[in-house]
Subunit: 404 residues, 2 copies
Amino acid sequence: MPLRNFIFSRWRETARRYGFQEYDGPPLEELELYTVKSGAEIVGQLYNFVDKGERAVSLRPEMTPTLARMVAASERNYKKPIKWFAVPQLFRYERQQKGRLREHFQLNADIIGENDPAADAELVALLIDTLRSVGLTENDFVVRLSSRNAWQDFFAQRSSDPEKAYEFYQVIDKMERDKPEVTDEKLRSLGIQAAEVKSFIESGTPTPELEAVLRHLRSRGLDKFVQVDYNIIRGLAYYTGVVFEAFAKGATMRAIAGGGRYNNLVKLISGGKVDLPALGFGMGDVVLGDLLLEKKVVPSLKNEVDTFVLIEDETLRDASLGVAQQLREAGISVEYSLTATKADKQFKRAIELGSRATVRCIQKESAVHCLVKDLASRKEIEVSPAELLKAVAPIVSPIAKCAT
Amino acid sequence: MPLRNFIFSRWRETARRYGFQEYDGPPLEELELYTVKSGAEIVGQLYNFVDKGERAVSLRPEMTPTLARMVAASERNYKKPIKWFAVPQLFRYERQQKGRLREHFQLNADIIGENDPAADAELVALLIDTLRSVGLTENDFVVRLSSRNAWQDFFAQRSSDPEKAYEFYQVIDKMERDKPEVTDEKLRSLGIQAAEVKSFIESGTPTPELEAVLRHLRSRGLDKFVQVDYNIIRGLAYYTGVVFEAFAKGATMRAIAGGGRYNNLVKLISGGKVDLPALGFGMGDVVLGDLLLEKKVVPSLKNEVDTFVLIEDETLRDASLGVAQQLREAGISVEYSLTATKADKQFKRAIELGSRATVRCIQKESAVHCLVKDLASRKEIEVSPAELLKAVAPIVSPIAKCAT
């Protein structure tokens, strides 16, 4: 949970820096929303069912259809381009394996209503900075940039059967996982020469739209995170332009995020009523979390409290609760023993919880005083309750320290 | 969404101040988890179904059974008392109405493994401070504190049929909504005199455990938010001790949160394997959100960006993107027009988005300079790119302002 919260907070914080606004949708959608987009064969992978009201529904397997539905339903309410993100929980009906669970979360970020490659660049920049925000560097990942348009042109120039285009994209998509002879055989059956495919990929010549994306990224100093790589084409049927995947470098090359343009989807989902260009990416929490743990780049994920109030004298319990309340009201997290506990056990617990300070009440003639200890420096000072906050804040908060 | 995010962030922040740690569980559970606890009649309210693998499952209607299951499964891993919170999405199969939707979120906070009333006080204090954290005061709500033990004793002294105890609790629970003659009739059939019930409620004498809870709350200065009120008994079968509800004061008295002790539930869910005392409360986002909007206590919920980078000269787009990147990398949120846009339209958009500053690049002989405008004071200064951050930070961030 602390790892997940670390990832979620960085996702949200980075998306907001980029001016993306958070949305959400229902985890349960009509089954038709997915079959319209992906055909009936998608149903095998869905956690779908018929509900008590005889509705065919599914736990959502992805967020994009929901987004397209929501935008199409009330697009006039929103200034274009719409820049939205969400952190939905998604569901698959399949046996779980490493990096692929039955339920997971994704960061989904999308831009709707802008055709210019500037939007593709903005989205890829967000992807890069999101990965940097969790501690990854150019040594850890690369964004492989490609274009389905380029592959579309490639196929159109070599085949007289445009119906086969999607079948061809599937061959390219599986190429890195298939054996070369399997790929060659598949290409041959489509009337495409494997050597031409190979040479197109090796050329790596950017299309004009990819050139524009690269230029925008260069302006931001982010071009070093990107390479044009026509091995990427993305499996889903609905992509229409620039596509990309973020890959982990090193021993296990694996996709940690992917996306691209889907200019026809809003029109499809809305039954032709709304036609808006769109693009987006998804990044899962499971693969990313595994990677961060392997790379050991996450900060300490211990659940920590700022301060532990030690109650060594039970006659001072009421005063100690007052002290705990005073600190909590100032925004400082406080733990203490709910019942009478030996002093050394309390102190041990304070250390376990990563407390930065302890506070102890003592009876000082007719008044109660506080002993505040900085657990890093082991320095302890005595203050009156009125001076307590001023003594504790700089120990537990870097911001408060800066202010003193 | 901004209202929901406001509520969620205050929930999480307050729970952490109290040393509660966040957990989560699956949104889908085996149906049996709920029927074991609440009997077969609960099924009518659940969004349950039979899945593709012939499993009887349900979207979770509440979080407590999941929590009890999780704790029972690995309780040895956790130091007692366990102080956990979650913000689950919950589901009901029923027609939706104001304040009661088919899906909503709850803050759930629980303490497991502590029998002392100090734990009840800690939990009630968290409830009070959570409501204060969203802007509510003692004029807006009261926590009505009661004891199922007290009602249990009351009934045991007057009835020879302990089997009827739960039926009696239901009558008390519905009393404020039922007509007096309906309540009287129900009580008569249980052999209880309505006058005795009335006089017990009017006495309002705290039990020893309630006395202890009140003392702990007084130490924290929170007693003014609480009153002993035996009208409260809580509907669910599993409560065993102190119970409470937070009520909105004013025209529409309504419960905004409720909870109490459920010392037998972990044992029940674990089939007798683990026996731990426990207590918790739930607070829904829908009722609370409606209340905050009525009371007008929420801060501005506009989606805002810190800075808008105006691109008035397209030959400076690359330089402007570099400026946007520099600000974003410093944690400042930045918006700009993706494509060439008239200057007045850009400025209008900056105002709509609530930007606190604008930045414009200008060509200054062979160098690019930046004009930084504070939109509150309308003061504009010219700086070099190297001085940019120092100029923008104090305008957009109170913390940065304090540091200068």
